[in-house]
């Protein structure tokens, strides 16, 4: 690697390095270092990813046969409710916040986040949310069983008669998670607006920062609606108010509006950072500048804006008048325009490059292909007549698992491998990484592709038993699911072994352009000895211009 000899020059003052977390105990303490918090988020959320994955295995086990014969119906209902909740609120959100925490200050040339203590508090709420969620398994009646949407009146039915029940704990956890995310959003937006290094105008920011910025703006306008809806439902459940309870004159459809007003944009909160990760990874492993940088940057903001007016597409068949169905069909379809711009830009970036198919590139390419597939089924779903047929069927389940596993989780893996040397100062094993990729890629498609024919045939989501004609595709999906579960083993093995005894990583093992690659691996506590002065746009591959005026390239 060409940059190895200059490693010493980057940080002549090596003594700063001793402060970077060399002791694992630091990761269990209240640290205000954004890098420690980033890794805390990542490790915590990965733990919950495994928990949510085990719930999925139980469900796929139940669905191997048409009858409800592996677990009780109540257990099955608890499993899909907790699987959805854990995967969203304890895996995808926090893991991406972890990356944003780790990378944003480094990428914009800041020494830390704007509010380091708030940052730490926001993180420590995540384990609290997790403990409450898991604790609900031990209250009478078990965890919430109303699905991650928790639509009333089902979510208001409380057969145990106890005040403390799974649904109450669920709502409490979701509300706390909302508060934590709002804290994070305030912190990210402030950091990105206020703490950029001199010379870094908005159009010199890396696209990951653009993506985080757009995503966190969605959090600011959307989360209050979800949190309010959750609190109102909690009051209906515990204090006898009648916001949503039809038996007392409330309107359950109102809850659907509160819920989806946030929970659809939430998809973009998750996917935008993944788009940012793609935009960081493709140029490096293609050795080309990102094609159409400015348009790609602006398209993130456009997605954030349009995301605010699409939520009713989840409610086409739930008492929505025709004119509203059609308006939201059009707005929903328009999301494909800025998204399409991004996809074309990535393809053009890769085209004619000098590709290196390292593990991060493999994961990013696999995720991009599965995202294109998910985008196409997404357009189908946005069309009202098609949605009338496939709404609440496995077609939808297949579509969003292509988004959330095929794209988001695979994109997260790409990011973990790509920045692993930076975060740990060690290299991972490339061959184990590739084994992981192929298991995960095959597993994802085996698991989620069969859900599309199942949905077109009319198999509903959230059922513990089904008609025998659906069994064939369900067996394939379950086998794919078990393969997917197994694919995490080489990953865990690789990460643990490499972190302990991997080859030492240089500052910039991928010869990547970006501020985070100018500091040592792992970066010193204060990130930059001297705040960099930015003189050019990011992604200058193939051009020999320097990125900064005062740091060695």
């Amino acid at each position: 690697m060409t940059n190895v000899p200059i490693e010493g020059i980057l940080l002549p003052d090596e003594k700063h390095n001793h402060e970077s977390p060399s002791n694992w105990k630091e990761y269990f303490s209240f640290s205000t270092d954004h890098k420690v918090i980033g890794i805390q988020y990542l490790v915590t959320s990965f733990f919950f990813f495994l928990v949510g994955g085990i719930f999925a295995m139980v469900m796929r086990g139940e669905l191997m046969t048409p009858e409800s014969d592996l677990v009780d119906r109540t257990v099955y209902n608890g499993m899909f409710t907790m699987h959805g909740t854990v995967m969203l609120f304890l895996w995808t959100f926090p893991s991406l916040v972890g990356f944003a925490n780790y990378l944003v200050p480094l990428m914009i040339g800041a020494r830390d986040m704007a509010f380091p203590r708030l940052n730490a508090v926001a993180f420590w709420m995540v384990p609290v949310v997790g403990i409450i969620m898991m604790g609900s398994f031990f209250v009478p009646g078990g965890p919430a069983q109303a699905g991650w949407w928790s639509y009333p009146p089902v979510s208001l039915q409380n057969p145990t008669g106890n005040l403390i029940n799974g649904q109450v704990l669920w709502l409490l956890a979701v509300a706390i998670s909302g508060v934590s995310s709002i804290m994070g959003a305030v912190n990210f937006v402030t950091t990105i607006v206020k703490m950029r290094a001199p010379g870094m105008g908005f159009f010199k920011m890396p696209l990951f920062v653009w993506a985080v910025f757009s995503a966190q703006i969605i959090q600011l306008f959307g989360l209050p609606a979800l949190t309010a809806g959750a609190v109102m439902l909690l009051l209906d459940l515990t204090a006898g108010t009648a916001f949503f309870d039809p038996a007392k004159g409330g309107n359950p459809v109102m809850f659907e509006h509160y819920f989806w007003f946030y929970s659809h944009p939430a998809v973009y909160v998750i996917i935008l950072p993944i788009f940012g990760i793609f935009s960081e990874i493709f140029p490096v492993y293609s050795r080309k500048p990102l094609f159409g940088y400015k348009v790609v940057a602006v398209s993130s903001i456009l997605i954030a804006v349009v995301s605010g007016i699409v939520w009713v597409h989840h409610m086409y068949v739930s008492g929505t008048p025709g004119w509203m169905r059609l308006i939201f069909m059009l707005t929903t379809m328009f999301v494909s325009v800025p998204t399409g711009i991004k996809v074309f830009a990535w393809v053009a970036t890769i085209w004619g490059g000098k590709l290196r198919l390292n593990t991060p590139m493999l994961f990013a390419l696999g995720a991009l292909i599965m995202f294109v597939f998910a985008g196409i089924t997404g357009i189908m779903l946005s069309s009202v007549p098609v949605d009338v047929h496939v709404n609440n069927t496995y077609f939808v389940v297949g579509h969003f698992h292509y988004v959330l596993y095929g794209t988001v989780t695979m994109g997260l893996y790409a990011a973990i491998y790509h920045w692993f040397p930076k975060m740990t100062g060690r290299m991972y094993s490339e061959s184990w990484g590739k084994i992981h990729f192929w298991l995960a890629f095959i597993g994802t498609n085996l698991n989620f592709l069969p859900m599309h024919p199942l949905g077109l045939q009319g198999m509903l989501r959230r059922v513990a038993s089904y008609a025998p004609e659906y069994q064939y595709w369900n067996i394939i999906a379950s086998l794919g699911g078990f393969l997917l579960g197994m694919s995490t083993l080489p990953f865990i093995f690789n990460m643990v072994i490499s972190w302990m005894q991997g080859e030492k990583a240089p500052a910039n093992p991928w010869r990547a352009i970006g501020l985070e690659w100018l500091v040592s691996s792992p970066p010193p506590v204060e990130n930059f000895e001297e705040i960099p002065i930015i003189v050019s746009e990011p992604y200058g591959y193939g051009k020999s211009e320097p990125l900064t005026a005062n740091l060695p390239e």
Partner: protein, 308 residues
């Protein structure tokens, strides 16, 4: 140099033709992925699905084959650590690939709107009080491909009651109740959907039709069955513990058979219908993992003239 250019164009053309032909073929296959077409609306929806599958396949194959071409032919040679060409963008190209999705979206939305209007499936009557500009008045219009003998005027309104976890159908003219939905073929049907407790969803996959049922809301739903046979009605909106068991038979028959069934059912004394949720609740279940988590007890099995 010139030969190279011609070869490139030929490659591109061959690729484009291959992708187009494959997409058209996949689009044709789409019909075989769907249940039988038992309602007039399903003909319209299936055409739309086939169209979207064709278009989607074209985009998917186009993007992935370009990517695969790069992955195969644009690999860095071992030990070549130089950069690729520093191409940062191309305004014309970017304008074109923004305009194409915009036009596609307008096309898809226009076609979907047309289909939706022809379906005229109605909806929650009390919400649709404004005279909206999009002209939902066409509700009684016949679906495009409906058989010629279809009557535009709906038959008597059938009341559909959903409860945890049973479907009950009431035919008001003869005051008959049933747990099986009998419908005359080639007639416009109008249902009045009601829920006794929680949200439910009325869904017959063979009809491609679905509508949520909301407590305290009167929701009208219209469609035209066209193919005699026995189909499944399922609850499509999660309704609690025994959600999966909330199914019923839908029998589409000739108008004569339908009248005969009505007359025959009218002579029957009401009896208790079979109900899977109630019987599962009464029995200790035989699952291997049991927790004994309490559940909402199912509503009493309905008393009906025709228990199906």
């Amino acid at each position: 140099m010139k030969i190279q250019k011609i070869l490139n164009i030929l490659t591109l053309l061959t690729g484009a033709i291959a992708v187009t032909v494959t997409s058209l073929w996949i689009g044709k296959q789409a019909y075989s992925w769907l249940p039988p077409q038992a309602a007039a609306e399903s003909l319209l929806i299936d055409d739309l699905i086939s169209f979207l599958v064709t278009l989607g396949s074209f985009i998917f194959l186009g993007v992935t084959s370009t990517l695969m071409y790069s992955v195969i032919f644009h690999r860095a040679i071992k030990d070549d650590f130089t950069d690729g060409p520093a191409i940062e963008g191309n305004i014309t190209l970017e304008v074109v690939w923004t305009a194409i999705p915009v036009l596609l979206v307008l096309w898809i939305a226009g076609y979907s709107y047309q289909v939706y209007e022809q379906m005229g499936i109605q909806g929650p009557s009390e919400i649709v009080h404004l005279h909206n500009p999009l002209g939902m008045e066409s509700a009684y219009a016949e679906p495009k491909d409906a058989p010629a003998n279809t009557l535009a005027e709906p038959v008597e309104k059938i009341d559909v009651l959903a409860k945890q976890w049973a479907w009950v159908f009431h035919y008001p003219e003869r005051d008959i109740t049933s747990t099986e939905l009998h419908l005359p073929s080639d007639r416009r049907i109008r249902l009045a959907l009601k829920s006794q407790d929680v949200l439910h969803g009325f869904y017959i996959p063979a009809f491609r039709l679905k509508q949520d049922i909301i407590p305290n809301h009167a929701i009208d739903f219209e469609f035209t069955p066209i193919r005699p046979g026995k189909y499944r009605l399922t609850d499509s909106q999660y309704s609690g513990t025994y959600f999966a068991t909330m199914q019923a038979n839908v029998v589409v028959e000739s108008p004569e058979d339908y009248q005969q069934w009505l007359a025959q059912a009218a002579t029957q004394k009401p009896s208790v219908a079979k109900n899977q949720a109630a019987s599962e609740y009464a029995q200790t279940s035989n699952q291997s993992v049991q927790t004994g988590w309490v559940t909402v007890p199912p509503a009493a099995p309905p008393l009906v003239n025709s228990p199906g």
